[in-house]
């Protein structure tokens, strides 16, 4: 092409940063650097994601035909149980706090590390110990109770490795508690000078609210699973009606954690979305305080709605009414967020880089997931759709359409900071598109299946449901490609991607005011914050809606 002889670039000595500060397996396994621990978690949760995904592939293959023909019924039951347990407890709950949160919370608040760095490393080991327990149960034949462990099936009737799986979740729960504790203390005490609560990025607000849920809720699931194990071992008669126990008590305890757990999964995702929307529309988040307090409101109200999982059990009709009402109440803060994100785009400077595509995808899918939640909160309709594919579709829209989309958006957005390299934009956009299409094709038909009455956890099903199931399985294969693609090009980019600047987007957060990748101690000197979050223009030009725009915009 060019006849000019290539000029060899003069290679300056590489800047020292957290990735090259030291090498060797020990430097990783004994690190107390929050950024390295985030990468350790990235490896762990990615492995669990693809393991859980492999189970999902088997489920969708089995459901291609109405007859149960690919695997045995017992195997199928184990597949969906392991899929659920791994995806919920070992991927969705930890993924954003432990990967993005660990990496970003200290950086975003101008701290050198989390408050308890060694506890942070310990929580990674505890998480993996829990994972090993779970994998032990998988290798010995798995568990077939569903991820919900309903008694008395789990406590008396199942012949599978319930205790090992429960123990795995029990242990991993401690890692959640410790991470939550670490975040709460860090956010309270280690903010940089000048970084007041209302200057915090919304990602910090949502992780703070989320940490409250993790610390308060996780002990309940731990105790509950402990009781299931004790009942299996000693027939203590807490849940087993033959010994005077109450099987529904288990559901109360289980959902007292597991409903807030949904918010553990989605609150950090909302935080990521707020960051992405602000950065890629170069604009202050509309109604910052409303979005921030909506996170807190979700955390509080989320603890009061567990009974909406039990509208068709023997729960009193009046308590069902109260839980229905509260479920509508908890929908409002989520709606506030969606409206504010949308309003943020108004008069923004919107670019369509990959993280933004994921963020917009998140809003769309989360809206559908949230609106279908209103169907389930409506008592009379819930009777028909609960325990059907309608519920499956609903919570996959929230958890996969919501959490995973936001997580991938966040990974792309902060990838330059984490790895020091840019990802390939073209491939990344293609990946985002494939995931969006594949996701909707997989899960939208399940709403229809559910209203038609196809129950969940069915290994074989009536023939008239086949076409919709084939659509869903076809979508899942597209979705699978969409998930493998980022994994390939992100690994590729670590070596071959263009070197990232400190602030490639550009964005306003503190994490972007230190080099990419950051030095081990994050900041050369402690930053002093004199600006608000998302301040793309000087504050004197900021206005509230309805006022006339200042002259000379855009600033």
């Amino acid at each position: 092409m060019s006849a000019v002889a290539p000029i060899l670039p003069t290679v300056p000595p590489p800047r020292e940063h957290y990735l090259n500060a030291n090498y060797g397996i020990r430097s990783w396994l004994l690190t107390t650097d929050h950024k390295r621990i985030a990468l350790l978690y990235l490896v762990s949760v990615t492995l669990f994601f693809f393991l859980g995904g492999a189970f999902a592939v088997m489920i969708r293959l089995e459901l291609l035909t109405p007859q149960g023909d690919l695997v045995q019924a017992e195997t199928y039951n184990k597949l969906f149980s392991m899929h659920g347990i791994i995806m919920v407890f070992f991927f969705l709950v930890p993924v954003i706090p432990t990967v993005l949160g660990n990496f970003l919370v200290p950086l975003m608040i101008g701290a050198r590390d989390l408050a308890f760095p060694r506890l942070n490393l310990a929580s990674w080991y505890i998480f993996n110990l829990g994972g090993v327990c779970l994998l032990w149960s998988v290798l010995h034949g798995g568990v077939d109770t569903g991820w919900t462990f309903y008694t008395p099936y789990s406590s008396i009737y199942s012949n599978t490795y319930v205790i090992a799986a429960a123990l795995g979740i029990f242990i991993a729960g401690f890692s959640s508690i410790l991470t939550g504790l670490n975040f709460i203390v860090t956010i309270h005490f280690m903010r940089a000078p000048g970084l007041t609560w209302f200057r915090l990025p919304l990602f910090i607000w949502s992780n703070y609210a989320n940490s409250l849920i993790m610390v308060l809720g996780t002990p309940v699931i731990a105790v509950t699973l402990l009781l299931v194990a004790l009942e299996r071992l000693f027939h203590i008669g807490v849940f087993d009606p033959d010994y005077g126990g109450d099987p529904v008590l288990f559901q109360h305890l289980f959902w007292f954690y597991s409903h807030p757990a949904v918010y553990i999964m989605v609150l950090p995702a909302m935080g990521v979305t707020s960051e992405l929307i602000a950065t890629f529309s170069r604009k202050l988040i509309f109604g910052y305080t409303f979005v921030a307090f909506a996170s807190v409101a979700i955390a509080v109200l989320g603890f009061l709605v567990w009974g909406h999982h039990m509208f068709v059990t023997s729960q009193s009709m009046y308590s069902s009414m109260i839980f229905s009402f509260l479920s509508y109440a908890v929908a409002i803060p989520s709606a506030i967020k969606v409206f504010n994100w949308t309003a943020t785009l108004y008069k923004g400077s919107v670019s369509y880089q990959t993280p933004m595509l994921y963020a917009l995808g998140f809003i769309g899918l989360f809206t559908i997931g949230g609106m279908t939640g209103l169907f389930l909160a409506a008592l009379g309709v819930d009777i028909h759709v609960t325990d059907t594919y309608f519920v499956i579709a609903h919570f996959h829209y929230i958890m996969v359409g919501g959490t995973v989309m936001a997580y991938l958006g966040g990974i792309h957005y902060w990838w330059p900071k984490m790895s020091g390299r840019m990802y390939p934009e073209g491939w990344a956009k293609l990946g985002a598109l494939i995931i969006f299409v594949g996701f909707n094709l997989t899960f939208f038909p399940q709403f229809i299946l559910g209203y038609l009455g196809m129950p969940r956890r069915y290994y074989a099903y009536p023939e008239e449901f086949q076409v919709l199931n084939v659509m869903s399985s076809a979508g899942a294969s597209i979705l699978g490609v969409g998930y493998i693609l980022p994994m390939i090009y992100l690994i590729w980019s670590m070596r071959y991607g263009p070197v990232a600047e400190a602030n490639p987007w550009p964005s306003t957060g503190l994490e972007w005011r230190t080099p990419s990748p950051p030095p081990t101690h994050n900041f050369a000197e402690t930053p002093v914050v004199t600006w608000d979050a998302y301040e793309f223009v000087p504050p004197e030009k900021t206005r509230t809606a309805g006022q006339s725009p200042p002259h000379g915009q855009p600033a």
Partner: protein, 360 residues
């Protein structure tokens, strides 16, 4: 594979239309809001797309008016959903007084049905069209859930307690019956059919086959059990027994030793058989042994049905009330039957379905 792509389930009960109406409303609201959000996002994203690399957005901090608007309007709409949904819920779950009773036992992995007139069936349920049918359901083992999509009716059946639901079919036909709560290996095989028949056909079906007739009725079976288990030695009909008199008991208030007053319903009698120490009737001694593990759920239902049929009118001899077969509601709770037909317990046992073997 046959290409069939149904998009909406059949409506075959009185409540199905109500559920669907609310579903349509929810769908419409969701569609409006989703399209509004998606439309605004696309419109803004295109209209305000970045035109030069260093362009920034107009900083707008927010608007309290707008915030109030999108808090109040969604809340108001959601309250409509709440009230409407609660109304439909009460319609579905509040059992009308005149419903005819069928007893149901769920167990891994089948549904067993017992008509009071005597017919028993497994994984098939015959019901008449246009009659409110009440199901009294028990589980032998784990939690099951009785689900008929065409009726829009579902209820969990929880071991250790009775669950009652009702429906009224509006269209003759055959409909799916599913177990909707995961119950183990063959969960997806715990399915069946609900066969809705014209009343005359249903009557013919009731009186046909081996299971028909008074002998096969749960009252008769319960009476046999009552004697086989020697319940009658203590629960005599003449006030002389060690245990309380059971005739006329059902539906009444019972004074307990600890001062509590409870209603003698299905769950009370069930508990008193399985765990007699739980509620001791005032002025009686706690001497009754537990029958836990000795009677199956079906037998419990038979015993209860028998006890419910006992009346106070003629305490000297055991009366069995043959069910009236027709649209009468034999054995409604709180309505002891005043039957008069003398039918001594049949000497020969009926060929039994399932767990009819009484411990002797």
């Amino acid at each position: 594979m046959k290409f069939s792509l149904p998009l909406f389930p059949e409506q075959a009960s009185t409540v199905a239309g109500q559920v669907d109406a609310l579903f349509y409303f929810l769908t419409a609201v969701s569609a409006v809001f989703s399209l509004l959000i998606a439309g605004l996002i696309i419109y803004f994203a295109v209209k305000y797309r970045r035109r030069s690399p260093d362009e920034v957005g107009v900083p707008i901090a927010g608007s309290h008016g707008l915030e109030a608007l999108w808090i109040v309007i969604p809340f108001a709409i959601s309250m409509v959903m709440f009230v409407w949904g609660a109304g439909v819920y009460f319609t579905i779950y509040r059992v009308p007084d005149n419903a005819m009773e069928i007893q149901v036992v769920g167990k891994q992995w089948m549904w067993k049905f017992q008509h009071l007139e005597g017919q028993r069936e497994i994984n098939e349920l015959h019901v008449p069209v246009g009659r409110a049918v009440k199901l009294v359901m028990a589980s032998q083992d784990v939690i099951h859930s009785f689900f008929v999509p065409a009726f829009r009716v579902k209820a969990d059946v929880i071991p250790g307690t009775y669950r009652t639901i009702w429906f009224e079919a509006t269209k003759p036909g055959t409909y799916h019956l599913f177990c909707a709560e995961y119950c183990g290996t063959q969960h997806s095989g715990m399915i069946g059919r609900v066969i809705v028949m014209e009343p005359a056909q249903y009557q013919a079906w009731l009186s046909g086959g081996a299971g028909s007739g008074v002998e096969g009725s749960p009252v008769a079976a319960g009476q046999r059990l009552f004697e086989d288990l020697a319940c009658h030695t203590c629960h005599r009909l003449d006030q002389q027994g060690i245990g309380p008199v059971l005739a006329g008991l059902f539906g009444k208030q019972v004074q307990l030793q600890n001062g509590q007053v409870v209603t003698a319903d299905e769950n009370y009698i069930r508990e008193s058989i399985l765990n007699p120490m739980a509620k001791i009737v005032a002025s009686f001694q706690p001497v009754m042994p537990s029958y836990q593990g000795r009677v199956s759920e079906e037998q419990l239902l038979q015993l209860i049905t028998y006890i419910r049929s006992l009346t106070t009118q003629q305490p000297q001899t055991t009366k069995v009330t043959p069910p009236q077969g027709g649209p009468g509601a034999p054995g409604l709770p709180g309505e002891p039957q005043g039957g008069t037909t003398n039918s001594p317990p049949p000497p020969a046992r009926q060929p039994s379905v399932g767990e009819m073997e009484a411990p002797s």
